[in-house]
Amino acid sequence: MTSAPGYNFAYLDEQTKRMIRRAILKAVAIPGYQVPFGSREMPLPYGWGTGGIQVTAAVIGPEDRLKVIDQGADDTTNAVSIRRFFARTAGVATTERTAAATVIQTRHRIPETPLSEGQILVYQVPIPEPLRWLEPRETETRKMHALADYGAMHVKLYEDIARFGRIATTYDYPVLVNGRYLMRPSPIPKFDNPKMNMNPALQLFGAGREKRIYAVPPYTPVKSLDFEDHPFEIQSWDQACALCGGTDSFLDEVVTDDRGGRIYVCSDTHHCATRRDAVQEAAE
């Protein structure tokens, strides 16, 4: 184990880690409930994953293998920066293979490869409060959560259908966790929402600037809000991935020229690479 000189393992001091772990335990005990925690100033800017980093730092050990993705990709600048942060301060092994990782920190996506028991998925959360658009006041939203006073949330969905004929929320789509707490799934596309439901992995959410931690324990029901006659549905594409030919993953649009040319590729880079390898192997 090699960590940066002058700093503790995984940057945070042990006292701080214990404080964060206590918050995590509470979050696990009350699925979907936002636990306030003494978020520390981190050497990365607020809004760039400080909550996720603190959660990861509190749960990671020397034996862990860390994967970091941003927009589903391992090679985006922010993912590289955070992976490098932990490689430097904790000296842990890193990987791009979803199945091989014990801790996965993510921004905006859930990996396409199904997660398994024992894995921890850490989300970076910019704004944890699902009721914030409706009510800017923390004192009031906490009361609404305490009373499960969530009816107004459906007003937004009603408005969507009235105006567009369908629910027009495409990401950060609100969910009800364990039939009790309304939760904001960090801005993942709603395509990923069903993956949260009854997932064998532990899902932890960290919001550094807003100083909140929340969790979805393994095998917890997570339901996306909807109406009986307008059920929740996920995005689908007419195209296949231009690289691996997959049709069941979330696709990014890549503009290839300024005349409307575009291709679609998997947002999850590791998933795409794995499938390409499999296709190649089959051909050989």
Binding site: V155, Y158, A162
Partner: protein, 256 residues
């Protein structure tokens, strides 16, 4: 049968100043009580105390709940109070903007209370909203319009529809016709009277306008400096006022 609302010794102080003092009365199902008096007489303070929005300094407000009979509204927990306020009660504010969500459509404004109590079928919510808009004489075509585009009278009617959609038994109204043109007022009063009668609503209406009180209220309470100085059947109080203050109030209206 129990009174719907039983008020005893209700007092609200602001420091040493009296908001309202020692108010007691009963309201029966379907009854309409008018509270009149000049501004500063404690009408609005009393209404806030009655409608669970301002905790009184002393006294009790018992409401005859559907499940458990009479319950002190300040002794029940907040979840239950909130539920009461959005199902069995309605509150019509003087300024409709205080009672509406100005940023969402008329239909959503009416449907919100239904969704708050668990309605999850879009088509049914919309159908009920449409029905209620028509009951308050708002064109069904306006269902997806934002209240921002509505006139003052329409806003007030929308607020009423929003309150009545859950079939409340008791509605609190604070100067419901205040700030409206005279012709608009007349139409709204007519509508209110019809709804109250058709639905068998009980209501408590605060107004400084004796004409409004005469048209809507069965009984009147006259307030002055936080205290009730006279109470009785509306016609009786207005046509044969006993207390000097009531006499002054009535005569000041008759002599413009």
């Amino acid at each position: 049968m129990n009174p719907l609302l039983t008020v005893s010794g209700l007092t609200r102080m602001y420091g040493n100043r009296v908001g309202c003092r020692d108010v007691s009365f009963e309201l029966w199902p379907g009854g309409v009580m008018g509270i009149v008096g000049e501004s500063g007489s404690g009408k609005s303070t009393l209404l806030s105390c009655l409608s669970a929005r301002l905790e009184p300094t002393a006294g009790r407000v018992l409401y005859d709940t559907r499940e458990d009979g009479p319950v002190d509204i300040y002794a029940m927990g907040e979840p239950r109070r909130r539920m009461l306020m959005r199902t069995d009660w309605g509150i019509v504010h003087q300024n409709p903007r205080d009672g509406l969500r100005m940023g969402v459509s008329a239909g959503a404004n009416v449907g919100e209370r239904l969704m708050a109590v668990g309605a999850r079928h879009y088509g049914e919510i919309r159908a009920q909203a449409d029905d209620w808009l028509r009951k308050v004489e708002i064109d069904g075509e306006r269902i997806d319009d934002l209240p921002l585009t509505f006139s003052g009278g329409m806003l007030q009617r929308l607020q009423i529809a929003r309150n009545l959609v859950t079939h409340p038994r008791l509605v609190f109204m604070d100067e419901p016709t205040g700030g409206l043109d005279v012709s608009v007022q007349a139409r709204l009063l007519d509508l209110l009277r019809r709804l109250v009668t058709d639905l068998g609503l009980a209501a408590i209406i605060v107004t400084h306008d004796l004409a409004v009180a005469r048209l809507l209220a069965h009984r009147l309470m006259v307030m002055r400096r936080g205290e009730v100085v006279e109470t009785g059947l509306t016609d009786q109080v207005l046509d044969d006022p006993h207390h000097p203050y009531t006499q002054l109030l009535v005569s000041s209206v008759l002599q413009p």
